[in-house]
């Protein structure tokens, strides 16, 4: 279970990355986090290709925390790829973004995002959100059974 990645954090901004990891660590999720720094890397990881060719589809992450503004392939494209592929579409995706752009929210929900969170400016609020999210996704929510991944 130790080797299983439970959270895929897709974030390009080092500050955001640091703060997200800080918040996750505070709640003891640090060991099960994999960080992807752009959309391409995130997709490689999820689809077990290129640098992650050795990975198996048998162990999908329990949640993907996805930023929208990403180099190479942006967040919405990543979301579309995840949700359009039967091998990955069961993976819960939580969009975490600074933007409150309605357009993005609408598009995100149309593509099948599971949650959409705007990062609040108040860091205390952010930490609370991360805590609740981790608790919910990793402790409360039942992960999809393997059959969901065909």
């Amino acid at each position: 279970m130790n080797s299983a990645i439970e959270v895929l954090l897709v974030e390009d901004n080092p500050d955001d990355l640091e703060l997200a990891l800080f918040a996750l660590k505070k709640h003891n999720f640090a060991n099960t986090i994999h960080v992807a720094r752009d959309g391409e890397e995130a997709l490689d990881f999820l689809f077990c290709r290129n640098a992650y060719a050795g990975r198996s589809f048998d162990h999908p992450p329990r949640v993907v925390l996805l930023d929208l503004k990403l180099p190479k392939i942006d967040g919405l494209e990543v979301l579309r790829a995840i949700k359009n592929d039967p091998r990955t579409q069961a993976v819960p995706v939580v969009v975490m973004t600074s933007s409150k752009q309605q357009r993005d929210m609408i598009e995100g929900y149309k593509l099948g995002v599971n949650s959409y969170i705007q990062k609040p400016i108040d860091f205390a609020e952010f930490r609370e959100i991360i805590r609740q999210l981790g608790y919910y996704c990793l402790a409360i929510n039942q992960p999809p059974p393997p059959e969901a991944f065909q």
């Binding site: 703060l19 503004k69 409150k100 752009q101 400016i121």
Partner: protein
């Protein structure tokens, strides 16, 4: 009869008178002669004074029975003889020296002197009885009477007969003639009594009556026919005598002039139908004709103005002919009301003038396409004169490739349809032009199509203008496309900008806040109170900045978003806003006065922002008040329903009212009242999106009222 009787009587009387006189004369002569004879023989008795002799001499008078008495006197009056001798002397007159004779009492007394050798011896007196004479006279009278009576009877008989056979019929003839003349009854006939001259006369008379009757009937028929003809004449027929007085007047004249015949006849024509200003001329013309027998207006048609009974004037056509019957001249006038003709002529000439003055080419063609009329516009447009064009085929104007249009149009015309099309034409000088042609059928009185009227308008300028417009439009469209593309690009840039603003401006704020917090946590023990305060200031600034970014993004979104209208009760929106607002208001004492608000057709989300903004402002600016009063209601402003939000807060100076709705304009200091200066600008933008109006009234330290209208609020 009477005459003849009188004549007879007079004749008889004369005859008897004459007989009387001649008898008297004869008797006297006889008596005197007898007396002379006796006297001559009696002289002896006187000389000798012998009475016996005297009486003897006188006795010889007995031969004449008419002598009733005789006596002989001497110069002394002594009777010397008596006859009859037996009559006493006293019966004899006593005379002396008497001479001559005297008629007395049916007898004549004759006194004759008895002379011898001139010596007067005495006087002989004879009384001669005239009875015999009267006897004769009576006989004569009797005979005369008988003759008279006979004559009278005969005359009576003759007269009767005459009367029966002559006078009767003549009188009857006279009576008949009288009847005829009185009753004008020519059917009466005189009775015929025989075949004599009177019979012939009666026949002749009756024949004459028959002829008169026939003439009369013919005359009456002719008169009736003539009256009928006159009365059915389209023209008014007026006959006047040489004094200018109307003597006949037909029914058309009655209609035209308004005078019934019985009133018109006898009136002066001049005063009846001639306007006063022409009367003198009319009278002069009449006098001139009567004097010279000629007149300029006789026997020809003239147009003049006539007068109706009601005083209106109208144009007439008049012809006057003098008619001479015997020595009497009358004038017959035929008068036609030509009002309609004049109007028609005017309309026609107007029409002709319009056609002639039209800028359009107006061409008449027959059905074979031969030009029959050509106006000035056609001459100007096509360069052919009327003389050149008329008689030619209209094909001379049509470019060969357009001839088909013409035959199609002609086919339409023959179906009686009006056609309108645009085409090209060739001028005489070979230049071509664009025309708009309207062709309509020309029909004759029976409605048969006999030709075409083609009206062409030179639209070369228009076509050129249209081409220019088309070209301009094309250019415009290109430019619009270009501008649209530019605008879209700008919009995309703006989108990208706001996207990055919302994303990239917020991220550093989050980082600053987060690291400041982490720092504070890390330095927890070693942080001074002052340091902690600075950290708080950093975080506060970050919060403000975040709010500003959010507000600006909202403002820009409001400007670009599509408004989605639906009908909603404004009270419902206010209730939601108040529910959200109340926790914020916290423990403050706020008295809410909520009025009944109307429904509105609006975008509820946007209008909710308006209420949120205005109400939160009211809450904010009443903060210094122990008891805040916030009133939300409606009132009528310039016929429109305005919604207001009123507070008893700090208010503002009205001289800054125009700055109220500008972005980043604030009327309060940040340390007094927080805010970004974007809220009211957003509110104004939303109100404008709803075609409404927003304004504020305030007084410093007394409070402020914000009003707004929305097009979607029906006025009450």
């Amino acid at each position: 009869m009477l005459t003849s009787s009188v004549a007879l009587i007079l004749t008889s009387a004369a005859f008897i008178g004459y007989e009387l006189i001649s008898l008297r004369k004869t008797s006297l002569q006889n008596g005197e002669a007898l007396a002379q004879v006796i006297a001559a023989t009696s002289s002896a008795a006187l000389r000798f004074d012998d009475e016996t002799f005297g009486t003897e001499m006188l006795s010889k008078l007995a031969i004449d029975p008419t002598i009733v008495m005789a006596s002989l006197y001497d110069n002394d009056g002594k009777i010397l003889g008596r006859y009859p001798a037996e009559r006493p002397a006293a019966d004899f007159p006593k005379i002396r020296g008497a001479e001559g004779h005297a008629f007395k009492g049916g007898a004549v007394r004759i006194f004759v002197p008895v002379k011898e050798k001139g010596e007067h011896l005495g006087t002989l007196f004879l009384k001669m009885d005239l009875e015999t004479m009267f006897e004769r006279l009576r006989l004569y009278a009797g005979i005369t009477c008988i003759v008279l009576l006979s004559c009278f009877l005969v005359a009576l008989a003759v007269s009767n007969w005459l009367q029966r056979s002559i006078s009767g019929p003549v009188l009857e003839l006279a009576e008949t003639a009288k009847t005829v003349s009185l009753k004008k009854d020519y059917l009466v006939r005189a009775r015929k009594y025989g075949s004599d001259e009177l019979g012939l006369l009666t026949d002749a008379f009756n024949h004459m009556l028959t002829q008169i009757h026939e003439r009369d009937v013919a005359l009456t028929e002719s008169e009736t026919r003539m009256r009928a003809v006159l009365n059915s004449a389209v023209s008014a027929v007026v006959v006047i005598d040489c004094a200018g007085l109307i003597i006949d007047w037909n029914s058309r004249a009655e209609q035209i002039f308004g005078w019934p015949r019985r009133e018109a006849v006898g009136r002066s024509l001049g005063e009846t139908i001639i306007p006063s200003r022409y009367r003198e001329r009319h009278q002069r013309g009449l006098n001139h004709f009567l004097a010279t027998g000629e007149g300029p207006i006789l026997n020809r048609l003239i147009d003049i103005t006539a007068l109706r009974r009601d005083g209106t004037e109208f144009p007439v056509e008049l012809s006057i002919s003098p008619m001479k019957t015997g020595n009497v001249t009358t004038f017959c006038g035929f008068i036609t009301d030509i009002t309609e003709r004049k109007q028609a002529a005017q309309a026609l000439s107007l029409l002709a003038a319009i056609v002639e003055s039209s800028d359009d080419a107006i061409i008449g063609k027959d059905l074979s396409g031969t030009i029959v009329s050509w106006n000035a516009g056609a001459e100007r447009m096509f360069g052919y004169t009327a003389a050149e064009a008329i008689g030619k085929k209209s094909a001379i104007l049509i470019p060969p490739d357009r001839l088909k249009e013409e035959s199609i149009a002609l086919a339409h015309i023959q179906e009686g349809r009006l056609t309108h099309f645009e085409s090209a034409r060739v001028r005489k000088d070979g230049k071509s032009l664009h025309v708009s042609v309207t062709m309509s059928p020309i029909k004759n009185a029976e409605g048969k199509i006999i030709g075409v009227s083609a009206s062409s308008r030179d639209i070369s300028d228009r076509i050129r203008a249209e081409e220019e417009i088309r070209a301009l439009n094309l250019r415009l469209e290109e430019r619009v496309l270009q501008r649209t593309a530019e605008l879209e690009a700008t919009n995309r840039e703006l989108e990208a900008f706001t996207y990055s603003v919302s994303h990239d401006l917020r991220a550093p704020l989050r980082h600053i806040d987060a690291f400041a917090q982490i720092l504070a946590d890390e330095l927890n023990a070693g942080m001074t109170a002052q340091g902690r305060k600075y950290i708080e200031r950093i975080r506060h600034g970050v919060q403000n900045m975040g709010q500003l970014v959010d507000d600006l993004l909202n403002l820009s979104r409001v400007g670009r978003m599509e408004v989605r209208h639906r009908t909603i009760k404004l009270n419902a929106i206010v209730d939601v806003v108040l529910a959200e607002m109340k926790p914020e208001a916290g423990a403050r004492q706020i008295k809410w006065v909520l009025g009944e608000l109307p429904s509105a057709v609006c975008d509820p989300g946007l209008v909710k922002q308006v209420f949120t903004n205005l109400i939160s402002n009211a809450v904010k600016y009443t903060r210094p008040r122990e008891q805040a009063v916030i009133e939300i209601g409606k009132q009528t402003e310039e016929g429109a329903t305005a919604i207001f939000v009123r507070d008893n807060g700090v208010g503002f100076n009205m001289k800054y009212a125009d700055k109220l709705f500008g972005v980043f304009h604030r009327l309060h200091r940040a340390e007094d009242f927080e805010g970004t200066g974007v809220g009211l600008a957003t509110v104004q933008r939303i109100i404008h999106l709803h075609e409404g109006r927003i304004w504020a009234e305030a007084e410093l330290d007394k409070g402020a009222t914000f009003y707004f209208t929305l097009r979607g609020i029906s006025s009450t």
